[in-house]
């Protein structure tokens, strides 16, 4: 599904790093000499409340603005987005374009027969894997779930190189040019305490991303298969 332009909708819950990954994706594209624009969308900032971020990534300059209503990539950071309807967009595939990609963080198959019918008709590819378990296993914290999700996406569609990603992750966690909300800043210091050292945090994040790249190699996006359930 190689395209000039990817319009992505990232849905998750407050505290999972949805907006953070949107920023890192943007920087990684910038580092790769490509273009990206991002739009965070959330109500009051609180943990476990629905959060959506939209990312446009392209080899050409991007003019359009606003939320992505018709995505060709959907990332779901938490199964409750689907199973509990914790989302601004329901059903979760609303607006999905034909021949598109859905990545879901889940420990089990969350697709209902109706979802399978619609997604099959759209010729979508759905990749389900337990990103949270992977984050716990490798980084020792579920806070690296977003890295696993971003890693899987970039492993699947190869928009940027591993160097571009590492640079962007470094910028995010070590750089000073980044502005986040107060809540995110507090969360960051909690993460830092857990990891003790920023460098360690960085290398653990990169380990998670490398692992997802490996896992992504087992997925053939042109196989016509609807669901890929990847074991962690």
């Amino acid at each position: 599904m190689e395209k000039k332009r990817y319009n992505m909708r990232v849905s998750g819950l407050g505290g999972q790093g949805v907006v953070t990954t949107a920023h890192i994706l943007g920087s990684a594209m910038d580092n790769a000499g490509k273009y990206a624009s991002l739009v965070p969308f959330f109500g009051s900032e609180k943990r476990m409340a629905p959060v959506e971020a939209y990312v446009r990534a392209s080899t050409d300059p991007i003019y359009e603005v606003g939320e992505v209503v018709y995505p060709d990539i959907i990332m779901i950071y938490h199964p409750q987005v689907i199973t509990h309807g914790k989302s601004y967009t329901m059903p979760f595939y609303m607006g999905l374009k034909p021949n598109s990609l859905v990545i879901i963080n889940t420990d089990r198959d969350v697709l209902e027969p109706e979802d399978i019918r619609v997604l099959t008709e759209l010729k979508a590819t759905v990749v389900q894997f337990d990103a949270t378990e992977l984050a716990l296993k490798i980084a020792g914290t579920e806070l690296a779930t977003n890295m696993a999700m971003m890693g899987m996406l970039l492993g699947l569609i190869k928009l940027v190189s591993m160097e571009n990603i590492e640079h962007a992750v470094k910028e995010r966690f070590l750089g000073t040019s980044f502005v986040t909300s107060g809540g995110t800043a507090a969360l960051d210091s909690a993460i830092e305490k857990k990891f003790k050292k920023k460098e360690k945090l960085l290398s653990k994040n990169m380990e998670v991303i490398s692992k997802t790249f490996e896992m992504a190699d087992s997925v053939d996006l042109n196989s016509g298969k609807l669901v890929f359930q990847l074991a962690v």
Binding site: K4, V39, Y63, E64, V65, G66, E67, V69, K97, P98
Partner: protein
């Protein structure tokens, strides 16, 4: 007001032509709100008056910062928008360069005073950062307020992005104060989509400022302790007979709408003209202003990639409206698609009124309540216009 010690800044004074067209530029990655404030910083503004409302608050907060840095002589927060806009008129009559900005409900609250600015020849610059005004109220960037604004007599420029916001705001001061114009200029752009989003903006040097206002080069003399407000004294309509009041009203209003038209040459000079046209030979055109023009530009690119005969027209100036320019640009067109961020389609009505064959104009697509305007909706209209089968599952 000015108790705080603020630095005295030394700036190189240049004229508008140099500042807008020749001055060196450096690229910044900033929000639309920052772009507007950066323009105000370089415009040698004497005084700014603010009353906060989302999403404008970001702009006037930043203008407050540049006051503290010494770029503006006076700044205060007014009691509400009618007070703000009335005070702008009072201060401008004393011959100083004025700036304020507002959004949606704030604009409508201030509109009573704003509607009287042109007749009183107030060359102020007004930033309009659009926001829903109709029920149910929200803070999102619907732009229906421009429909109310565009019949006041002021110039109305509509910025597509952060760069436009910078250039149009700077040009607005120069155009407003031309002696054959001398009416207010509103620079509108969409809240959030532009004001709170970052884009690349080429800005002029910070230590270079626009020539100060010359209150003697005005069709109506500025008042001070020795110069009474002669025009109001001479013409005061409410004190005259009905016949005289009709006559005076006619003279003032004809004067300002002529001024409005005369500003067109400066829109050419400083902003490259009131419209931008891509693919002038196309069968179908997407005509848009403001943020909708960004979405239309994207649709135009998609259409090009698919080899479709689609052109793009961006309308920079809503007042004066480029009637002749649009009529000429679309004289061979078969369909015009007018995407908008409001329910009534004020741009669509203006376009229809500009051409002899208004039946070729497609009403929309329109989104309301400040929703994003998906490029896919514009593409669907393009396929319809060209008679191309499509199934976008929209």
């Amino acid at each position: 007001m000015s108790q705080n010690a603020r630095p005295k800044l030394e700036k190189k004074i240049v004229d508008a032509g140099y500042l807008l067209k020749e001055a060196p530029r450096t690229q910044q990655f900033i929000t639309g709100a920052q772009a507007m404030a950066e323009a105000v910083k370089r415009a040698n503004v004497d005084m700014a008056i603010a009353y906060p409302i989302t999403p404008q608050s970001e702009v006037m907060h930043l203008v407050g910062d540049i006051y503290a840095q010494g770029h503006i002589k006076e700044y205060y927060r007014a009691e509400e928008e009618l007070g703000t806009m009335s005070a702008i008129a009072g201060a401008a009559r004393a011959g100083v360069r004025m700036f304020t900005a507002t959004s949606g409900p704030g604009l409508l609250r201030g509109l009573e005073a704003i509607a009287s600015w042109p007749g009183h020849r107030i060359p102020a610059v007004l930033g309009v950062l659009t926001r829903v005004v109709n029920a149910p109220l929200s803070i999102q960037p619907d732009n229906i307020e421009i429909a109310y604004l565009m019949h006041c007599g002021a110039l109305v420029l509509h910025a597509e992005n952060q760069q436009d916001t910078f250039d149009m705001t700077l040009a607005a001061f120069a155009i407003a104060e031309k002696v054959d114009v001398y009416i207010p200029v509103a620079v509108a752009t969409e809240g959030f989509f532009v004001t709170h989003a970052k884009g690349y903006v080429n800005t002029t040097p910070e230590d270079m400022a626009l020539t100060p206002i010359d209150p003697t080069a005005a069709p109506v003399p500025a008042m001070d302790n020795e110069t009474p407000p002669a025009r109001i004294q001479r013409d005061a309509p409410v004190q005259k007979s009905n016949f005289m009041s009709y006559l005076i009203h006619a003279v003032w209003q004809q004067e300002i709408w002529d001024s409005n038209k005369r500003s067109m040459k400066y829109i050419y000079e400083y902003l490259g003209g009131p419209i931008e046209v891509q693919d002038p030979e196309a069968d179908v055109f997407v005509v848009a202003s403001g943020c909708a023009a960004a979405q239309a530009r994207e649709a135009h690119r998609y259409a090009q990639e698919e080899g479709l005969s689609v052109g793009f027209i961006k309308v920079r100036s809503i007042r004066p409206f480029p009637v002749d320019e649009i009529r000429e640009a679309v004289k061979n067109a078969k369909k015009l698609i007018v995407p908008e961020h409001n329910i009534i389609g004020w741009l669509c009505k203006e376009v229809k009124a500009s051409i002899p064959n208004s039946g070729i104009v497609v009403e929309g697509p329109r989104v309301y309540g400040g929703m994003t305007l998906p490029v896919e909706l514009i593409m669907a209209e393009i396929y319809n216009a060209l008679g191309i089968e499509h199934n976008m599952k929209l």
